[in-house]
Every structure is written in structure tokens, then in C-alpha cells.
Symmetry: C3
Subunit: 133 residues, 3 copies
């Protein structure tokens, strides 16, 4: 079972909560038990699971990633100017994986699923693949 | 098949070898072939696969992560003071995935599975989900 | 279904495109739908998904990772001298996961799968595990 939804980003670097969209896919497919894979088909974006309560955590993650990975390093060779986005994409990873138990995503009480935009604003896509079992 | 076990951490930053607990789950469920997902339901912890032989590797990973991600950055806004833990959680990731072949985890000779604590000491939980196939 | 192939690396730090080898495994097994897991059984190597077009992106990722993680930090204790490789291995991760749809890997237009060598040159192995569904 494979579904795709779209995400509209509004900033160059941004974390967008996609938990409800993923939960909606699981619900619409009526899956009882299995694994839910959230896959990002872009190379300057990623996905992570982190705190869903205080929005300042999103700020701190993006801010620290921008300190770690220089936006304009003189040693970058890639001419499009978005090397930082590619590097953050690898640091985040291209997929996260959730457990489906009794028709619900198993998330810790503070966990949400975040789309990571690192070269926006853009229209992006998210694939949700479910394996029952 | 879903099982959960508990981990007690003893330090603020710590790597704890959970390989034997994960192997025990696989053994207890009698799975022959499939995928084993190890999932951390916390936002200031993570999981990784790394060297199981020389304990100084654990030291070096934790030390270098603490150099990368400042514990007390003046630009952090999150008031709980554990932003570094949230960021390390995203750098590690919330899950690792192992192959089960002939009823055993397929691990490289030097590989062990490590729970990463970044805001301890605490009691933590680890979910193990297995899909046969 | 589990297959293993070998990769020969030529540099200390290197990204090697293994997309075609993974696609070949999927094709040879005749899988229609499912998940494809690419697993690295080494602790100074990793795997990531990133841009397959401009080779300068590979350069920029490796260069920036070497700025992030010091090759010779005086605080490293691990006597083999490859602590940086272990740390990069954790930053990359030990597996990536692809969707198989209509017998093909679902990859974004710019996405390729890269083996990350961080303590080469060496002979390395890559496991490909497929779950149908």
C-alpha cells in the first residue's frame, strides 16, 4: 500500500509537522498491524521524529543545523548553491519508520513526524508505504 | 509482533549496548526470516549501530557529538535546557533496522546496537517490531 | 529474500553510487511491491540517498563531513585512529530503505543510493533485504 501527499514549504529551512497526514493515510487504509515508512523523494529535504509540544525545539534544531553546516562554504563546488541542503538531507535521512499497532501509529507522547525543508520554499512530496504484519 | 523492554541510563550522555536484549526478542518470537525494527519512543534519545569491541569508540562518539552540538548555546530558545538532546536525537535517528536470517540477526562482526541517551539519567523504553518475510 | 554484493573502495573517504546494483537485485528477484532495505555490515562505513547528477555534491558532502568530524582529535581514545570513521558511520546510518512499486525502486528524479566509505580503501559488503507487501 502506497500513498503520496504534498507539502508546501514557506521558508528556506523549515520543519513541518506531517504527523496528522501520516496518521490519516494509516486510517484510510484500515491497517491493523505493520510498519509505516515515510519516504522523502528529494535530495535537499529529509524527515525526522522529534518533539511535538514546544515549537522552540523546531527553532533550535534548525538553528543548530545551520551552525553545523555552513550555507556558504568557500570550499563548496556544487554550482547550484544548495550544498548545505544536500548535507542536511543526509544528516536527517530520507525516511522514518513507525510501528502500526491496533490500527494506530506507535508514537512516544512527545513525538511528532517532521518534514525537513533545506532548500525552500517549494512544493514537495511525501510517500507513505505500509507493510502489514 | 511487537515487544517492549526497558533501559535504565546512568549518565546525561550515554551509549548502552542493547544487542543482547534485541537478540532475545528475536529468539523468543521464533522468527526465521524478516526485518527487525528497533524503535525509540523518546525525543532526547536515539539508536545507532556501531563498534562492539573497544569501549573507547563509545567515548569518542559521545565526545565528538558533544563538540558538534553545544550543550548551552545562547541562541537556544527551548526553556527545558535539553535542546542538545533533541538535536542529537535527530542526528542519531529514532530507529535502526536489522535483517533476520535463519533465526539470527545479521550483524557485521564488529557491530552492536546502542541506545543513545542524551538527556539522562532516566528510565527509557525500546520497542522491537518484527515483520516476517 | 536476501542478497549480498561487494564494493571496492579506493579512497579513505568516498561516496560510491550503488543504485544500479540495488536495482539489479530487485529485478533479479522479480519483486512487484514491497520494501527494499540496504544494510551496511561495517562500523566505519554507512549509506545515504542523495543527488545523482552533479558529482560535486559528493565532494561537498565528504568535505563538509570532514570539517564536522575531526580526523585527528586529541581527545580521541580509540587506538586504531579511525574514530572519525565510526562517528561518520553513525551520522550516515547503517541502512536506507526504498519502496518497490510495480517492480521498480521508487526514487526521486535526482536520487541515487551511495555507499559511504570512511576508513578505506577496503573491500566492503552490502546486504539487500526485500520484504514483499
Amino acid at each position: 500500500m502506497l500513498k503520496t501527499f504534498e507539502v508546501r514549504t514557506n521558508n528556506h529551512n523549515e520543519l513541518i509537522d506531517i504527523t496528522s497526514q501520516v496518521q490519516e493515510v494509516v486510517k484510510s487504509l484500515g491497517v491493523k498491524n505493520g510498519i509505516c515508512m515515510v519516504y522523502i523523494p528529494h535530495t535537499t529535504a529529509g524527515v525526522t521524529i522529534n518533539e511535538n509540544a514546544d515549537p522552540s525545539v523546531k527553532h533550535d534544531i534548525l538553528m543548530e543545523f545551520s551552525k553545523l553546516v555552513s550555507e556558504h562554504d568557500h570550499d563548496y563546488r556544487h554550482s547550484e548553491g544548495n550544498s548545505a541542503g544536500h548535507i542536511k538531507s543526509t544528516l536527517f535521512g530520507s525516511s522514518v519508520h513507525l510501528i502500526i499497532d491496533h490500527a494506530k501509529l506507535v508514537l512516544g507522547i512527545w513525538q511528532g513526524i517532521y518534514f525537513g525543508e533545506f532548500d525552500g520554499p517549494r512544493g514537495r512530496r511525501v510517500h507513505v508505504k505500509i507493510i502489514e504484519g
